[in-house]
Amino acid sequence: MKLANYEKTEVKNSVKQEEPVLHVKDLEVTFKTYGGTVQAVRGVSFDVFKGETLAIVGESGCGKSVTSSAIMGLIPSPPGEITNGRVLFKGKELTSLSKNQLREIRGADISMIFQDPMTALNPTLKIGEQLTEGIRQHTSISSEDATKKAVEMMKLVGIPNPTERLKQYPHQFSGGMRQRIVIAIALMCEPELLIADEPTTALDVTIQAQILELFEEIQQKTGVSIILITHDLGVVAKIANRIAVMYAGKIIEVGTKREIFYQPNHPYTKGLLHSVPRLDLKGKPLEPIEGTPPDLFAPPAGCPFTARCPHAMTVCEKIMPETTRLTETHDADCWLLDERAKK
């Protein structure tokens, strides 16, 4: 589906021709519960290239976080299970690795930043210990060198007096500082891919801006690829290169930031953009998307957005639309884009 763009691309775009750092294809994740089986992720495909930031946006429960957990091999099993699909990290298939092999990649090559810095750090361990334990697990680095590295990382994320602060506990730091530490921990092993799951949601807006700038700075310095998972389009507009819009366990539109913001093609993407306050539309009421997402215990056969879509047609209910290539980088799954649809 979406990856085809980049594999078959004929455009002489150096970024796009590279081997992607991460290649996800037809990923499906289900959770077995007493109430039935939830199909949380239903065939997601995307690529992440070196040094870029891919934002995955969508509302709560659309499968963003499950997708990231699946890449990390952190789906709790049972009840969760990757039922289909491939996750290739630098050409290596992750879904077939053993638990121990996966653990060696986790934290070393792929790191994760969690949403809430207030709970992501262990309250009973010193910051220094929490920074160094990962690198000491993955490499045979000495304790002094690990501490040096930790000081370096603390400097990189902008924490003053790093040597002294390593001896402190999480409760002695503010929320923004804690998120910086969480980012420093994620960077300790110099990963190639950073998955940031709503990294700014729990922070207040001024701190949010600082953290986003920090992401940009780190990416420039280290060339790390970032998957940014968020529901905040403001964050996306600031740091994403490309955007994948997720809805009901599927990616329904993917494109560059410019394409998604200025030429959205899927009605859901349009709805999402319309529901964000804008300075240039002062005085006009916000347009929320009416209705609620479909029940993923029994997802609809056709397009999952049909029930909420202002342009829904008969075919939408019954058959899931094929992916339409709009440009080399822009895809959308919508029947309106089919040539047979009435314009």
């Binding site: 994760m112 949403q115 992501a120 309250p123 009973t124 697990q137």
Partner: protein, 310 residues
């Protein structure tokens, strides 16, 4: 920290004094005296006895004498066994109760925590259900029932362990088993539920995302956070077990401190009641103090200071 300990020390003294005072007046509000039980002693003899022990004095004088005995820690002779002092009884009985208590606590703590962790890791699995069934049984079966069962099985039917007394390590097995099962079950249940809560925390997910081994995640990240409730009950548990458990000591004929508790109350043996009460409450208060210190060691967010924390 130092100021906290000093302040806490004074509070501990006051607490023990309050307990001792309440016990004194409760004890004297119960009708009867040590000398009027089916002995048929003449009134003259009784009056002499009371004069000897100072029981003919007004209550406030007795209370004063009693306070003095607490401060000097000299409770005088026992009324029922006049040839030995209360201090003799305590110094003879307590080391044995203490030995039994320490072994019991260690067994209960180590096995209880281990069982709790295993149950939490195998949440809703067969091992979890087995462990928790065992824990419910351990809590519901009184230790004296368990004591007679283990004596019947190990000492009588199989003849592999001695049935009673306290003289070698083999003698310690059955009383420890009978005494430790209950606390172990309580600790296992607490550890399990607290572990289950901790394992859902973000910092555990983060530890997994760092690629740490499951062993490190459990022992380093989860256990320390999960131990708070266990430490809370451990204080009272230790005090209760250390100062002797009357029933178990009676069943296994262990010459510990526990029996003096009960016998002294039945016999209105005022000096022994007061001595054991003060001794017991001092240990209890001290254990609760240790628990508070342990909190601050486990969780750096808990600061001990003279203002009573932030």
């Amino acid at each position: 920290m130092a100021r906290y300990i000093v302040k806490r020390f004074f509070i501990m003294i006051i607490t023990v004094l309050v307990i001792a005072t309440l016990t004194f007046f409760l004890m004297h509000s119960i009708p009867g005296s040590p000398f009027n039980q089916e002995r048929g002693t003449s009134e003259a003899v009784q009056a002499n006895l009371e004069a000897f022990y100072g029981l003919d004095e007004p209550l406030y004088v007795q209370y004063g004498m009693y306070l003095k005995s607490i401060v000097t820690f000299d409770f005088g002779p026992s009324i029922k066994n006049p040839n030995q002092t209360v201090n003799d009884l305590l110094s003879r009985g307590f080391p044995i109760s203490f030995e039994l208590g320490i072994i019991t606590i260690l067994v209960a703590l180590i096995s209880g925590v281990t069982l709790g962790i295993i149950a939490a890791l195998r949440h809703n699995g067969v091992i979890d259900y087995l462990a928790m069934t065992f824990a419910v049984l351990g809590i519901s079966v009184p230790n004296f029932v368990l004591a007679t069962l283990v004596i019947q099985q190990f000492a009588v039917n199989w003849s592999i362990l001695p049935a009673a007394t306290w003289s070698s390590s083999a003698h310690m097995v059955l009383p420890t088993l009978a005494l430790a099962t209950g606390p172990m079950a309580i600790i296992a249940r607490l550890t399990r539920s607290s572990m289950l809560e901790v394992l859902t925390q973000d910092y555990i997910k983060m530890a997994r995302a760092k690629g740490l081994t499951p062993m490190k995640i459990i022992l380093k990240h989860a256990l320390k956070n999960a131990m708070m409730p266990v430490v809370t009950i451990l204080g009272t548990l230790v005090a209760a077990i250390l100062t002797g458990t009357f029933v178990i000591e009676k069943i296994f004929a262990i010459p510990g401190m526990g029996k003096y508790f009960v016998e002294s109350i039945n016999g209105r043996d005022y000096p022994v009641i007061m001595g054991t009460t003060v001794f017991y409450s001092s240990i209890l208060v001290f254990m609760l103090f240790l628990v508070d210190v342990a909190y601050s060691l486990l969780d750096p967010r808990i600061k001990l200071n003279a203002k009573g924390g932030e």
